[in-house]
């Protein structure tokens, strides 16, 4: 199968928005990085050409699971994020499926040139795991709170970018990314976040999923902000406001059709991400709507500032990344409808 054919067949729409929407409930909390670690082990069990590279923080980005299980296919690179990405490219060009994970701040920002020339321009089948996404990293502070990966990765041709919303989805997304041809980046977080999807919740690269129906406004969210959007939407239901919630787990390739459909059926959009709004999910959605279906858009995300030390919860509150903020944004967006 050609590379193009693989890409296209991976994008067939099987998700259905018809029928009864299940109501999502929180069933515990777990960080998405554990889903990445477990998904990588599943891939290792399935395919003997899946290999992993370590960047010294394997116990933090959970490549340690793979290292323990498959020591012969794990290679320490020391603290050399940029060159680990190049080595991964060489492995991919030799027919392997290398995963390299480190903190997103380094996986994306330090590696931008490597990702551009060696990984993306080569269309090399490299998988980068970017941990410690967003300000929910907490105490480590701004240097380690990655807020730029969506902006950096989505501007690169050939790249695929996935931002799973909870533990189960992170595991499924990791497996999907491993089985999908092409250079990919998967973004996951350090701190425990609500688990609410199930093992059988469908996941497909390139397809948004409707987690709640509604026609008064639509929240398009990724990562842990999907849960905040659901909480906001369920609370607004009590006020008689029906909000659609889209889980935009794949930022690239972006499900443009789902965005246009949401804008045309709901007339008002809110985007929510634990990332800079500029050139992030919010920017991506606004680009689509400006061209295909102009609608009022409100943005939830980090507003052109660095993060800082603190407890994850107090940071999320300070930076305006809670369900309360989503609710207020929905009302603002609806008020702007003509």
């Amino acid at each position: 199968m050609s590379v193009t054919a693989v890409k296209e067949s991976s994008m067939v729409n099987t998700a259905s928005t018809n029928g009864q929407m299940p109501r999502y409930e929180m069933h515990g909390k777990k960080a998405t990085r554990f889903g990445f670690g477990e998904g990588l082990v599943v891939l290792g069990e399935r395919y003997d050409n899946v290999v992993a590279l370590g960047g010294d923080i394997t116990g933090s980005v959970m490549t340690s699971y793979f290292k323990e299980k498959f020591p012969d296919r794990f290679f320490s690179m020391g603290i050399t994020e940029a060159t680990a990405t190049l080595v991964a490219t060489g492995l991919a060009l030799s027919g392997h499926i290398p995963f390299f994970a480190t903190y997103g701040a380094f996986a994306s920002c330090r590696n931008t040139d490597m990702i551009r020339i060696s990984m993306a321009y080569n269309d090399a089948n490299v998988k980068i795991g970017g941990g410690h996404a967003g300000i929910s990293v907490g105490e480590d502070g701004a240097t380690h709170q990655a807020l730029e990966e969506i902006a950096i990765i989505r501007v690169m041709p050939n790249m695929t970018l996935v931002v799973p919303c909870d533990f189960n989805e992170a595991k499924k997304a990791t497996i999907a990314v491993g089985e999908y041809y092409g250079p990919c980046y998967i973004r996951f977080g350090r701190s425990d976040v609500p688990s609410f999807t199930h093992e059988d919740t469908p996941f497909e690269i390139g397809k948004a999923q409707t987690f709640k129906d509604g026609n008064d406004a639509a929240v398009i969210a990724c990562g842990p902000m999907v849960w905040e959007a659901l909480v906001a939407a369920y609370e607004l239901e009590a006020e008689g406001i029906n909000v659609r919630v889209l889980n935009m787990a794949t930022i690239k390739p972006l499900d443009r059709a789902a965005i246009v459909k949401a804008a045309s059926e709901c007339g008002a959009i809110v985007t929510a991400e634990e990332h800079q709004i500029t050139a992030g999910l919010g920017g991506a959605v606004a680009e689509v709507l400006a061209q295909e279906h102009p609608a009022p858009v409100e943005f939830i995300g980090v507003k052109d500032t660095f993060g800082g030390s603190g407890k994850p919860d107090e940071l999320m509150e300070f930076f305006g990344l809670t369900s309360k903020d989503v609710k207020a944004a929905v009302k603002r967006a609806i008020a702007r409808k003509r």
């Binding site: 290679f75 060489g90 492995l91 060009l93 030799s94 392997h96 499926i97 321009y121 080569n122 269309d123």
Partner: protein
């Protein structure tokens, strides 16, 4: 357990939809390309025969560049002896009729801007017709200004051009061969000397030595020149060999414009066990063309048609 494979060679995603550029019949006739018979790759070639191939590569570099009207002259001419020895002296395994053959040895040109010498080498080996050399840097040419894997040119293993990156990719290939697939393929990578200022070179060197990648042979084209001047004025690099020794490489310093010395170097590298090899090949930029030799101002420009004519008469 299964192996998840995708067809990854050749890529052709960089083709922008219209036709490939083609040189005129007059140009083909001028350079005698229609009658060209590729050179063979054999340990039996004499030094004189390899030198003849190196000169053929040099003439093609001049033709590529004068037709492209842009590109790098100095490094490609200076390193032609290295390429002739590596590709035609029996040190690399490849099959021009099956360029993506699994068992092939790999070559990664870390100094991507030196691609005119790689393209000329590949054409002299018969990977593609020499006429294509005359399309260097033209719209839709497979011979991009810096190597682009997206063009699917046989013999181009990786896109390169951002200095310092190719060696890391070569290390990944060597790691794949030695430690994952456990085969006997060898990986070669050539860097410029100015290029080794890049930090990724030293990260890659550390990783190659840590994993004892004795199937990796890197070559530093030590011409003491880079685009802004003499390397030791721009950034002191000496002692180059000692630096790689300190990184646990097996280091071979040789005259990179001597076929005999290069042969010894590549033969020695093949026998090294437990550590990667770095050949520090002392070359003259612009070698073989009197007005270019050892002059850093020829790093990044092509000859004029008049200069090209003189150069071609000198390169016999």
């Amino acid at each position: 357990m299964a192996r998840l494979t995708h067809k990854t060679y050749p890529l052709a995603t960089g083709f922008h939809g219209s036709s490939r550029p083609t040189p005129s019949p007059e140009l083909m006739a001028k350079y005698g390309y229609a009658d060209f018979k590729p050179f063979s790759n054999s340990a039996d070639h004499s030094d004189a025969a390899l030198l003849e191939i190196a000169q053929s590569i040099r003439r093609d570099i001049i033709r590529e560049l004068v037709e492209a009207k842009s590109g790098h002259s100095g490094g490609p001419l200076g390193s032609a002896d290295i390429f002739a020895t590596l590709y035609f002296g029996g040190f690399m395994r490849y099959d021009v009729n099956n360029p993506w053959w699994e068992g092939r040895d790999r070559f990664v040109l870390s100094a991507g801007h030196m691609c005119p010498v790689l393209y000329a080498t590949l054409a002299n080996a018969g990977f593609f017709p020499k006429s294509e050399l005359l399309t260097l840097r033209k719209f839709n040419s497979r011979l991009q200004g810096h190597p682009g894997r997206d063009m699917g040119l046989p013999g181009i293993e990786s896109s390169t051009g951002s200095l310092g990156q190719g060696l890391g990719i070569a290390v990944g290939m060597a790691l794949a061969d030695k430690l994952v697939d456990k085969n006997d393929r060898r990986v070669f990578s050539l860097t410029g000397d100015g290029e080794i200022s890049e930090g990724e070179i030293w990260e890659a060197a550390m990783i190659a030595a840590h994993w004892e990648l004795d199937n990796l042979c890197m070559i530093v084209d030590r011409n003491n020149c880079q685009i802004d001047g003499r390397t030791e004025d721009v950034m002191k690099l000496n002692p180059v060999g000692d630096k790689f020794k300190a990184f646990n490489f097996h280091v071979i310093e040789c005259n990179g414009n001597s076929i005999a010395e290069l042969r010894h170097a590549f033969a020695e590298a093949r026998e090294v066990k437990g550590r990667p090899t770095c050949i520090v090949a002392e070359t003259y930029m612009g070698r073989g063309v009197s007005f270019m030799e050892d002059d850093y101002r020829w790093h990044g420009k092509p000859p004029t048609p008049e200069q090209a004519e003189v150069a071609l008469t000198e390169l016999v």
